[in-house]
Symmetry: C2
Subunit: 338 residues, 2 copies
């Protein structure tokens, strides 16, 4: 591969690893606590090294919700990071999470500014059988996609998928949208309020390999281009509900339960009502289900989400040299003119 085919991207100097954005998703809570303990040791080692280390910020995002082992106290923190929510007026009566989102934006952002951290990795769990997923707002963020490919290669025992929510930067609502690059690392199945050792270990590996990739990248490694399967969210389906009480009247069908990312065909079983009847998928297009029976989405009216799969070509990437970065920052000469 020739050099002119390689996309050169700025150094990733500051990375944030966040846990506890949802206070009852415990892998991230205990992993960030553990990494904070280990960090003291790591920092000492890195001081001895000559190269400029990556600055890794470990953040417990919603300590009050964590304390109560609940998803949130007043409102879902991970929906509080739109530009509108971060910039509007804030009353004394504002929900706790609206206040906390501004603190986090001050710490890791401001969102959309040059001061924002280079990469946010926000740790989540799901009750759905989704394996390890990176969830991002972009299908052309080469940093996120290359990290995903690196995890796929280094963690062959765990099913890995890249999910794309097609939402504009302005409308993006989650904590990871505060960084220049960002994604949620979502791992399941795990009940909320529970730590399962296998899920914790997978998350720990995922974070370690992600940080390894960042260090390789910063040190000048060229990562080859290639193809990545991207699942782009198309729509959600809610449970059948009683029109008066709004109570659900069916559960996910046993033939669909735990079959995240297995193609759902028109006519396939979708729900089983509490009286035993089977309800089928009436869509015309075969789509890939995910977040099947996620606990936290009952209240959001989501029984499953459906995605289209596409193969995306990603280019080779390497870090910009210091000269390139300076030129880039100053808006000066292009590489060819130098």
């Amino acid at each position: 591969m020739e050099v002119d085919e390689v996309v050169c991207l700025p150094r990733l100097s500051r990375v944030a690893v966040c846990g506890g954005t949802h206070g009852n998703e415990l892998s991230g809570v205990y992993l960030v606590r553990e990494l904070l303990k280990e960090k003291k040791v790591t920092e000492k080692k890195e001081e001895d090294e000559e190269e400029k280390p990556v600055s890794v910020l470990m953040v417990l995002a919603n300590p009050w919700a964590m304390q109560q082992c609940r998803r949130y106290v007043n409102t879902d923190l991970n929906r509080c990071f739109t530009h509108a929510a971060l910039s509007g007026p804030l009353s004394d009566m504002a929900p706790y999470e609206m206040v906390r989102s501004r603190e986090l934006n001050a710490m890791l952002g401001p969102k959309g500014s040059p001061e924002a951290v280079d990469l946010v990795c926000d740790l989540h769990n799901t009750t759905a059988n989704m394996g390890l997923c990176l969830i991002a707002y972009s299908d052309c963020d080469w940093i996120c996609l290359h990290i995903f490919r690196h995890l796929q290669r280094t963690m062959p025992d765990i099913p890995l998928r890249y999910i794309h929510f097609d939402v504009s930067k302005k409308e993006s609502y989650s904590l990871d949208s505060v960084g220049k690059h960002g994604f949620a690392m979502e791992i399941g199945p795990q009940p909320h309020g529970v730590v399962r050792s296998n899920i914790y270990t997978a998350m720990k590996s995922g974070v370690q390999h992600m940080l390894d990739w960042v260090r390789f990248f910063n040190s000048g490694t060229i990562f080859e281009g290639g193809f990545v399967d991207v699942f782009t969210m198309v729509k959600h389906i809610d449970y059948p509900r009683d029109s008066e009480t709004h109570n659900i009247m069916a559960a996910i069908h046993p033939q669909l339960q735990d079959r995240d990312f297995c193609l759902l065909q028109p006519g396939d079983p979708l729900f089983q009502t509490f009286s035993g009847e089977t309800l089928r998928y009436k869509g015309k297009e075969p789509l890939y289900p995910f977040f099947i029976n996620e606990c936290a989405y009952y209240e959001k009216g989501i029984a499953i989400s459906l995605a289209r799969k596409r193969r995306v070509m990603i280019p080779a990437v390497r870090v910009q040299t210091e000269q390139e970065q300076q030129a880039d920052q100053q808006g000066f000469a292009s590489e060819e003119e130098e």
Copy 2:
């Protein structure tokens, strides 16, 4: 089998099936709602029949907690049914569940009185891989043990166990202790706040077979004696915790996770710390673990419970005739004198 070997027990005229005692254990919530719908149809049918039907009360035990999809609002309702808790003074500031437990005791009890319902079946879910368990305070309640044997025979596809908590009637604390007979029907694994179709269906079958047994029993069927394996709770083990923060420092070991009722030997792996170390079982006696990694027990300081298994002989049973029952109630002549 000769008649004098058969234990004669009073008719079970009134049975209560309770769901939502813990508001986020959803199989029971949706099953009781469904049974309430179906009951209208059933009652019509039964009116046409000649025989006196069983009166089945369907109860949603903690509606406020259900509404919030939480285990409880102020305190665990299923610990509020001791004689002390039910009979002490009650202030205006009493926790919601302390008030609710008295309402339920008035509806289904009073506990320990002749007016109490004959049988309480209280529906629960666990995040532990326990299959279907009946949990009771007695290892010599022939009604509970015969119902258990009936479920074992009629539901061969589901692992069934009988768990015995060796607590006196006075100290017994759970809703099912309000009935003359009672047990919790505990089914898992299912995350709290989630309905899984397979778990719902198992619970529905369990309740139907339990009610079938009661009807067979009332109609005079003689049930043969035999043996039942009873798991008697011996002790609980808590997670290793940080002495200052009280935070857990380990998760259930991956080799133990999901292996409820598989004999735990001294030296077997118990926990894996968040830094990766294995901690082993230091007990001297091999015991049977259950409630492994139950979500709700983190706050109670229980990582696993351990039981001893015993084989209990249960006698043949049949319902008392009306004459026997009258004689029994009046404290008159024994069967032999008649």
